[in-house]
Symmetry: C2
Subunit: 428 residues, 2 copies
C-alpha cells in the first residue's frame, strides 16, 4: 500500500483518482456485434457464442430437466447456505416496498404515486473463474418481490455447454425459470432486441466484463434501461484505534482478490495502525489462492493518515466508495455523516463479505464514484412510479384559474383552453 | 387524425410506432463542442453562446440585483399563480420522502436503507418560444425538499443578455440562487465538467432540444448522471360514451401545440365519439395561435376504435404513453390496470394541463416508451439510497458459516477468511 501522512486537502482528489475506466475504445467493436445480433438474430448469437465461449449452442434455453438435475449436483451445505442467504435478502428487500399516499393538494385535487413493477427484466450473471450464484439472489429476489412478470436470466455456458449447477439451483430457488445459455455481448443484445426464444426486456441488470459493460451502455442509448454504470469494485475502510488490524487486512484482501483493478483505500487517524495492517496483509496473502491478483490490486492501493474524524468523513464523502467499512468506536455517529457510499458496514464484526453474500443487503452497487448519484440495486430498481390525479368539478373550479394564468404566460393557449372549456361547462 | 376500426392486435405496434427519435447523427457534432468546453472552458462557453444565442456574455452569473428586479417585472396574477402551483408541487413531493426501516434479517444482523440527497444537481430550463417557469418549479422544488446542497440552474439568455423574469421569479421563490445565463450544449457541458463559476454537478435534469438531449446523453456516459432519456411529448386518451368530445379535443390540442413531432393518440370503444372529436378539433383549431404546429402533430395522430375496455388497456400498456387521460365512467377500475404510463389523469375534469402546471404532480415524465422502465421526476430522482448494516458478535456467529460456505463455493477465499478470522477471535 502507498502510505500518505496528512496529505493537504487540495491533493485528496489526485491521491484518490481512480484509474481511468473507459469502455470507449471497445465501443465500436461491440457495436458491430450488437448490430449483427439485431439483424441476423440467432445465427449471430450462435456464431459469437462459439467464438467467445468456445461452444456451439443449438438450444439456448436451459430445460426444466437441466434445472431439476442441478439441485442434485449442489452439495447440501451450499444449498442450505444459499437458502439462508435468500431468506435474508428477501426479508430486507420486502421491507423496501414503497407505500402509496393520496394527497389532496387543493380541495378537490387528489394526487398519488403508485409503484408498479417493470413488466420484463433481464438479469445477466457473468461466467468466468467463479460461478456467481450470489448475484442470482441479489438480482432475482427483488425482481420477484417487485412483481416483474417476465424475469429472464442469461449466463454463459461452459465449454461443455452447461451452466454451473449452483447458478441453476439459486435461480429455481428464487423463482426464475427462463434461463438462457448466453454470455457477454450476445446476452445483452438478445435481451435488448429480443432474439429467438429470448424475449426483449425493458431493463437489464447485472455485472460483467468490459465487453458486457460497453454493450449495456450502447443498448441503453435507445433500446432498454440498465441498472447503473459500471467500474471496478472498491472498498474504503475508516479505522481508528479500536479497529482490529487482522480484520482490516482481511477486508482489504477480500476486495483486492476481485481483480488487479480493484480499488482499496484505508483511512485512519491512528498512524500506528497502518504498519500493523501491512504486516497482517503480508501474513494473510501467503495463504490466498488468488494471491497474485490481490497483490496487484494492493500495489495501487492507498493508506491515508488524517488528523481527525471530520477530515476522514470529508475525504470519504468526496471519494464516494462502493463499499465502506467503518471500524471505529463511534461508528454510529460517523455513519450519520456519510453522504456518498454504496453500502456501509459498521463495526468490527461487520465484514463486507456479509453484504456480498448473506446479510440481506444488495451487493450490486455503484462503483467509480457513481455512489454520488446512484443507489445500489434495490426494490425501486425493478419498479417505476406512476403518478395519478383525480380532479373533481370543485377541484377544477378551485385550481383552474391558476392553470389558465400560467399556461397563458407560457404562450400555450391550448393548455389554457383545456381548462377554460371545463370551467365554462361547469358555470353553465 | 388517422382512424382505425378494430385493428388486429398484431398490427398495434406498427400503428403506434413513434417516429424514430435518434440523436445519433448529432452526436459527433455535439461531442466536438463538449470537448472544446472541457478543454477551453469559459472561452468555449462564451464563443458558443455568442454563436447559438446571439449574445456575448461576460458574466454568466445572474446577479442578486437581476433576481430581485425580476419580481417587479412579473405581474401579480402570474406571481400568485406560480405561488399556488409551487405550494401544490411542494405538498405532493414532500409526501414522497422515503422512510427508513431497520430490519433484523438474522438475530444480530441489522440492515437499513437511508435516502440521502444528491449533493450537487444541475437544472436545465430551455429558452426558446416560451419561458418555461413551470419547469423551474418541477425540478427545483423536489431538489430543495430532498436537501440537495448545491442546486445550479442554467437557462439561455435572450439576445438582450437577460433571462425571462418569470423564470427568475420562480427560481427565487423556491430557493434557487445559483442561476447562470447558459443554454444548450454550453449549459450541459458547464454543469458536467465544471467551468468558470459554474460548479460540476453529479446529476443533470431537464428538457431541451435535440442538441441538449444529445449532450446529456454524451456526458452521462462517464461524467454525470441524468434524469432520463428524452423524446417528443405525448398524450394518449382512453374514452368511452361518458367522455366529453370538446374536452377531449382540447386535451389533444394541448399536446399537439407542443411541437409538430408531438404524439397524440385517442383510443375508444365508442366509434361515434371520433367524429364528434374531429369536429371539435376543427372548431377549436381555428382560434389557436399555435394552429400550424398543432395541425402538423394532428396529421400524424391516431384515433383507434377497439371492441372493449380490456383491449384498450392492453393497447395502452403496450404503448406506454407519457401522459394518459382516462375519460371513462369506470376510470378508477381502469386506472388499477394501467401498468405503463408516466402520469395518469382520471375523469372528465382532470385535464393534462393541471399536471403540467399546478396540481402538484411532476411534469418531467418519460416519453418515447420509456415509461415501461422509468418513473417521472420525483423525490427519488434527487436522492440515492445508501444501505447500512451492523452485525454484532452474536450476529456474525449466526451468519458467519453461511457466508463462509458461499464464499468458498465462489472461489473467493479472502471473502471467506474475513469471516473466519472474526469467528476465531470470538471463539478464543
Amino acid at each position: 500500500m502507498k502510505t500518505y501522512q496528512n496529505p493537504p486537502k487540495n491533493k485528496w482528489d489526485e491521491l484518490l483518482k481512480r484509474p481511468s475506466f473507459s469502455v470507449g475504445e471497445l465501443r465500436d467493436q461491440v457495436q458491430v456485434i450488437l448490430t449483427e445480433i439485431r439483424i441476423d438474430g440467432i445465427d449471430a448469437i450462435r456464431k459469437y457464442t462459439e467464438k467467445f465461449d468456445g461452444v456451439f449452442i443449438e438450444n439456448l434455453t436451459v430445460t426444466a430437466e437441466e434445472i431439476s438435475e442441478a439441485s442434485g449436483l449442489v452439495d447440501n451445505a451450499l444449498k442450505d447456505a444459499i437458502t439462508i442467504a435468500a431468506a435474508n435478502v428477501r426479508k430486507f428487500h420486502e421491507s423496501q416496498i414503497p407505500v402509496s399516499k393520496r394527497i389532496e393538494t387543493t380541495s378537490g385535487v387528489t394526487c398519488w404515486q403508485k409503484a408498479v413493477a417493470i413488466d420484463k427484466v433481464g438479469l445477466y450473471i457473468p461466467g468466468g473463474s467463479a460461478p456467481l450464484f450470489s448475484t442470482v439472489l441479489m438480482l432475482a429476489i427483488p425482481a420477484v418481490i417487485a412483481g416483474c412478470k417476465e424475469i429472464v436470466l442469461c449466463t454463459p455456458p461452459g465449454k461443455d455447454g452447461k451452466i454451473n449447477p449452483a447458478i441453476l439451483f439459486a435461480a429455481q430457488l428464487v423463482g426464475v425459470s427462463k434461463i438462457y445459455k448466453l454470455g457477454g455481448i450476445q446476452a445483452i443484445g438478445a435481451m435488448a432486441y429480443g432474439v429467438d426464444c429470448v424475449p426483449k426486456v425493458y431493463k437489464i441488470f447485472g455485472p460483467g466484463n468490459q465487453y458486457v459493460m460497453a454493450a449495456k451502455q450502447l443498448v441503453s442509448i435507445s433500446d432498454v434501461a440498465i441498472d447503473m454504470p459500471a467500474g471496478p469494485s472498491e472498498v474504503a475502510i475508516m479505522a481508528d484505534t479500536t479497529a482490529n488490524p487482522a480484520f482490516i487486512a482481511a477486508d482489504l484482501l477480500s476486495q483486492a482478490e476481485h481483480g488487479p483493478d480493484s480499488q482499496v483505500v484505508l483511512v485512519t487517524n491512528d498512524a500506528s495502525l497502518i504498519e500493523k495492517v501491512v504486516q497482517e496483509l503480508a501474513a494473510q496473502l501467503t495463504e490466498l489462492p488468488r494471491k497474485a491478483i490481490a497483490e496487484k490490486a494492493l500495489a495501487n492501493s492507498q493508506a491515508i493518515v488524517l488528523e481527525n474524524v471530520a477530515e476522514m468523513i470529508e475525504l470519504i464523502n468526496g471519494y464516494a466508495p462502493e463499499h465502506l467499512i467503518v471500524a471505529m468506536g463511534n461508528y454510529t455517529e460517523v455513519a450519520e455523516k456519510i453522504t456518498n457510499a454504496g453500502s456501509v458496514f459498521l463495526g468490527n464484526y461487520t465484514p463486507e463479505s456479509a453484504g456480498d453474500y448473506a446479510s440481506g443487503t444488495n451487493h450490486t452497487l455503484p462503483t467509480n464514484g457513481w455512489a454520488r448519484s446512484f443507489s445500489g440495486v434495490n426494490i425501486d430498481s425493478f419498479m417505476k412510479k406512476i403518478t395519478f390525479q383525480e380532479i373533481t368539478p370543485e377541484g377544477i373550479l378551485n385550481l383552474g384559474p391558476t392553470i389558465e394564468t400560467m399556461a397563458a404566460a407560457e404562450l400555450l393557449d391550448a393548455h389554457k383552453n383545456a381548462v377554460t372549456l371545463r370551467l365554462k361547462e361547469l358555470k353553465k
